[in-house]
């Protein structure tokens, strides 16, 4: 390659690498299928879908950016699957079809401890809640993220034929958790399997 050619290639390379991340608008009151599954939800307010950052059976939405409110849908998660994309040097916990609903908070905790370098993680509560028309669980927790921010989380889940279905919200405990909770509840209440 000539020097000029190399420079041209470099410029081309830079232009191609321009971030074109189309985030998807999720309109209010429009039913939409999530996580490439049969689960659909109808949000009461507009959200933004963020592409390409999660595992296969999941999808991420946010209102103000995922550091401030992060909504993750998990659907049809089968045995052996991880809750987050696989990482180098660490083994992620996997969903196990024999797992009991009451053990789910522990799975979520282990997942975040490993994938988000969380060292301080507290389970706050867990109680029964109907989800997708079945017996399910609702649980809350709090952790300190890698930036030293206290994050509060809530998840509602059920197990259908050994597959996990879960909607999970993470937001700073200051202001954003409360601010996002109603929108989360509305989405959970609207969830159904087609």
């Amino acid at each position: 390659m000539t020097k000029t050619g190399f420079v041209a290639a470099t410029i081309a390379c830079i232009l191609v690498a321009t971030p074109v991340q189309a985030h998807k608008l999720e309109e209010a009151n429009v039913a939409v299928r999530v996580a490439k599954s049969k689960m659909s939800v109808t949000p009461e307010r507009a959200w933004n879908g963020i592409g390409g950052r999660q595992g296969k059976q999941s999808e991420v939405w946010t209102i103000d950016g995922e550091q401030l409110n992060e909504l993750i849908f998990f659907a049809d998660v089968r045995g052996g699957a991880t809750l987050a994309p696989k990482m180098k040097h660490v083994t992620l916990p996997t969903w196990d079809e024999k797992m009991l609903l009451v053990e789910l908070p522990e799975l979520v905790e282990r997942n975040y401890r490993v994938t988000r370098q969380v060292t301080e993680f507290t389970q706050i509560s867990s109680k029964p809640q109907t989800f997708l028309g079945r017996d399910g669980i609702a649980f809350e927790y709090e952790y300190v993220n890698a930036d030293g921010l206290h994050v509060r989380g809530i998840a509602v889940a059920t197990i259908i034929d050994g597959a996990l279905y879960m909607i999970n919200l993470n937001a700073p405990r200051l202001n954003y958790f409360e601010r996002s909770k109603a929108a989360f509840d509305a989405i959970v209440a609207s969830a159904k399997l087609d």
Binding site: R113, T119, I124, S126, G148, H150
Partner: protein, 405 residues
């Protein structure tokens, strides 16, 4: 610093320097007493003053950080062990901070803070081992290795950057939007890579402190055996052939662990062999916090490493209900059908050691249910609710008892 003191300081360095500069020969016998402490020290030169000031700023952040494990009695205990290791005159200016992090690490900043990761408590089993680690870090501090390492890193990274540019094929101009990451460093300390010679020197000083203390210096080598064992078991369970010692922060750029353990054994003063290693006091001091540290460890999802650590602690310090319970949790969370009978056995031993341990009944019940032992499982869970009616998951467990799933 006055000229006179500078001169004294320089001569101390000169006198001590050659003895430590090279790796101590293995035939040297036991390590001798460390050099006399040069007194309250103030930083000298642009680099050192800058480092101290950054560390002062870091310390302010660390002190208010949520990652700080702010438990004064445990910090006081660490200070006490440090003082008994290096001598009370030396340890005076040192501030001890515990960082909640389930990994094996400890560091000391040039301005005199020592940071101990909570994971260290699972990897040392007595005061002598703890003293060896603290003395090692203190050795870096006294020899001002950080400053030298910093200067070395600066030139080392220059090479790396050039190499990265030369081999780069794609553009990369993503900028970090969150400037708060700078603060993160403050909590965990700037990861410093010391040279092998500096590590040997710090080991040499650490064992010298132990030799001169009332603690048993032969214990120093044991820490390295424990951590090597952990890495080997972690790798074996993951199906890896060779353990990844580089993955342990404390190990990066350290002399090979086996060589290190061997050197430490040779350098320990023989007459110290009959001294106490302070195991009983150590176990008593960490007991209130051990369940939390064990919980942090088992949820790291490192089955082999965690199992090894729990066993090593049980076999060395004596098996207690929290250790049996942690092992039961580890096996239940691992989740294979073959893990459940083992988990049940460990929970039963935990209950044998402490019949009021509610969590052990919970784990036992869940493991029994997953093994198809429905009635015993229900009975265990009922006992759990009786022992801890206000448990965070009481409503879930009640539903489980009613509906069966």
């Amino acid at each position: 610093m006055t000229k006179a003191r500078l001169l004294v300081f320089a001569s101390v360095l000169a006198a001590v320097g050659p003895a430590y500069a090279a790796s101590p020969p293995k035939s040297a016998g036991q390590a001798s007493l460390p050099p006399p402490y040069s007194g309250a020290y103030q930083p000298i030169g642009k680099d050192e003053i800058g480092l101290w000031q950054r560390d002062d700023e870091d310390e302010r952040i660390l002190a208010a950080s949520p990652e700080r494990f702010d438990v004064p009695p445990l910090a006081a205990y660490l200070t006490d062990v440090l003082c008994r290791t290096v001598g009370t005159d030396r340890c005076k200016g040192v501030r001890v901070y515990i960082v909640r992090s389930p990994f094996f690490n400890a560091s000391m900043t040039p301005n005199g803070t020592i940071r101990v990761y909570s994971g260290l408590f699972l990897r040392v089993h007595n005061e002598a081992e703890l003293g060896a680690i603290l003395g090692h870090e203190f050795g870096h501090f006294e020899k001002r290795h950080t400053l030298n390492a910093f200067k070395a890193e600066r030139s080392g990274r220059n090479l790396l950057a050039w190499a990265a540019v030369l081999s780069a094929t794609a553009s990369n101009f993503g900028y970090r939007t969150n400037s708060f990451d700078s603060l993160q460093i403050s909590v965990h300390g700037n990861l410093r890579h010391f040279s092998r010679d500096q590590e040997r020197e710090a080991d040499y000083m650490g064992i010298g402190f132990l030799n001169a203390s009332n603690l048993r210096p032969q214990s120093a080598a044991q820490v390295w055996h424990t951590v090597m064992g952990e890495q080997e078991h972690s790798a074996a369970v993951r199906g890896l052939k060779r353990p990844d010692f580089k993955g342990v922060a404390f190990f990066a750029d350290h002399p090979p662990e086996a060589e290190r353990a061997e050197s430490l054994e040779l350098l320990a003063a023989p007459e110290g062999a009959t001294r106490s290693d302070g195991a009983a006091d150590y176990v008593r001091a960490i007991a209130p916090y051990l369940p939390a540290f064990l919980n942090d460890q088992i949820k790291l999802n490192d089955f082999g490493g965690s199992d090894y650590l729990i066993q090593a602690m049980g076999d060395t310090c004596g098996w207690t209900a929290p250790l049996y319970f942690a092992r039961g949790e580890l096996y239940r969370l691992h989740g294979n059908p073959r893990d459940m009978p083992n988990a049940i056995g460990f929970y039963e031993r935990a209950i044998g050691a402490d019949s009021t341990m509610a969590g052990a009944y919970r784990g036992l019940g869940l493991a029994q249910l997953r093994s198809g032992l429905i009635e015993p499982g229900r009975a265990s869970l009922k006992t759990y609710l009786q022992l801890d009616p206000g448990a965070k998951d009481a409503a879930m467990i009640s539903t489980l008892l009613e509906s069966g799933h």
